[in-house]
Amino acid sequence: MPDKTLTNPELLGIHQLVVQYGHVKALRGVDLQVRQGELVALVGANGAGKSSLLMALSGLVPMQQGQIRFGGADITHWPTHRRVQGGLVQVAEGRAILKTLSVEDNLRLGGYHQPSGTDLQEIYQRFPILKKRSRQLAGNLSGGEQQQLAIGRALLAKPRLLMLDEPSMGLAPRIIQEIFAIVHDLHQQGMTLLLVEQNVRQALKLADQAYVLETGVITLQGAAQELMHHPGVLAAYLGG
């Protein structure tokens, strides 16, 4: 499948991003680009710096060097809430569900900064289980349901780019398939996505473009289909 999005305008551009915790450089000059309508996968082993990259993109960890452009604006120095309001929305690792709040309250918080108020019906149509459980405490949902809640909540923030940090983490294989089906649907409906995954095979199957991150540096990048057959990726991540 040739990538039809290659000619689309850039939505997110990262230039020479450096993130450092004390003496440890988590990211050592990362360049990455996401075009409008694209699904970009960022894969790599544990500790490669994938989550640090998303945290820096959301403004949750300070960056020492580099520039972030989003939708034509330089957002390098924007605070987190302003980035979210601008449409750069993240589903954090571990889902970050507010366990003592109801499902519905969690969803309403997703649309916190929407001046027009929050329309939950669209989300309930997409995720019927959330409607069924709307009055329950979010902490009582199963892992898969919590992931749906986390994605639904992020959609209510009206993202222009949705970043997903390891959505398959800690889920049963059958549930992982459901979550990837949701990601696939969102992509088909035109959503721009940045997918961070350790589940490399699945991520590459879904993505248009992909980046491989190793110890804070991008070591490979290109069309996801090509990377799937790249000898280095095969050896390191896909078991030969």
């Binding site: 954090a92 569900i97 709040l101 916190y112 900064h113």
Partner: protein, 281 residues
């Protein structure tokens, strides 16, 4: 004992139940967004002293004096909240306790506050219905806040601040709002308190009082508004109820608190536990 005698004996206690209900609500507001701020006793002191100085030294009427006391503590909260709320957890607790000590020492050393002797002869202007009105207004305002999107944002910040920020919530201004509103409530409560106790001394608003106020909220439970009111009433009334125990009174007081915290960690008023009872029935 007829009604008039009873009121003469117990009016201070009854008014204190209302005033400390407000204090417990004021600290539950910051607790509800995850801030362990222990400056409420100091804000109560600022409100008490400012309004008492207004009615005694400057001979202002009661309402303008109350307003000045409330504004005074609100303003101070705004000034110290800006830097202090960058801290969290025990660091915030220590910084706010430190602030409380600073306030106490200042009250102890200024001439206008009467120094260590405090203020005496403060006119007894507080009526029971004024306390009730202030308490009810506080409850109504806080209830409106709780069900609003700001109330939900407070809960999000308490539960997981990173998650809250990722939902586009600007956490710093909201924390400041909770802190400053808590201080306003405490300032008003202090002004009311000053005008039924006749005297004020700096020791009334020190460390012990700060911990008492925290205990009220934790004992009652901070998941709703009835909890702090209940906790405030219990902590205020307990020394009276246990009067027969004489010197063992404070020990019994402490024992009751330990038992409650051990067996009812969400506090006495826990709507989820009540719901559980009804489901089983």
């Amino acid at each position: 004992m007829n009604w008039v005698d009873w009121w003469a004996t117990y009016s201070t206690l009854v008014l204190s139940v209302g005033v400390y209900g407000m204090m417990a609500l004021s600290i539950s507001l910051t607790l509800s967004c995850g801030l362990l701020a222990l400056a409420n006793a100091a804000f109560m002191g600022i409100g008490a002293y400012v309004s008492a100085i207004a009615t005694t030294t400057f001979e202002l009427p009661f309402y303008p004096a109350l307003l000045l006391g409330t504004l005074g503590s609100t303003l101070v909260a705004l000034l110290i909240g800006l830097p202090v709320l960058r801290l969290s957890g025990v660091y915030l607790a220590m910084a706010t306790l430190g602030f409380g000590e600073v306030v106490r020492i200042i009250l102890l050393n200024l001439d206008i506050t009467g120094g260590p002797l405090g203020l005496n002869g403060i006119p007894l202007l507080t009526q029971w219905w004024q306390v009730l009105l202030a308490l009810l207004s506080t409850v109504i305002v806080l209830q409106c806040l709780r069900v609003s999107r700001i109330g939900r944002a407070f809960e999000a910040i308490r539960e997981d601040e990173t998650a809250a920020r990722l939902m586009g919530i600007s956490t710093h201004p909201l924390k400041l709002l909770a802190f400053v509103m808590g201080a306003s409530i405490a300032g008003l409560a202090g002004g009311l308190n000053a005008h039924y106790t006749f005297t004020l001394s700096p020791g009334n608003f020190g460390f012990e009082n700060a911990v008492d106020i925290l205990t009220m909220a934790v004992l009652g439970g901070i998941r709703g508004l009835p909890g702090p009111l209940l906790g405030g009433a219990i902590i205020t009334l307990l020394p009276e109820v246990l009067r027969d125990l004489q010197e063992y009174r404070m020990a019994a007081n402490g024992l009751i608190l330990i038992l409650v915290v051990l067996f009812l960690p969400q506090g006495l008023w826990d709507s989820q536990r009540f719901r559980g009872w009804f489901k089983r029935a």
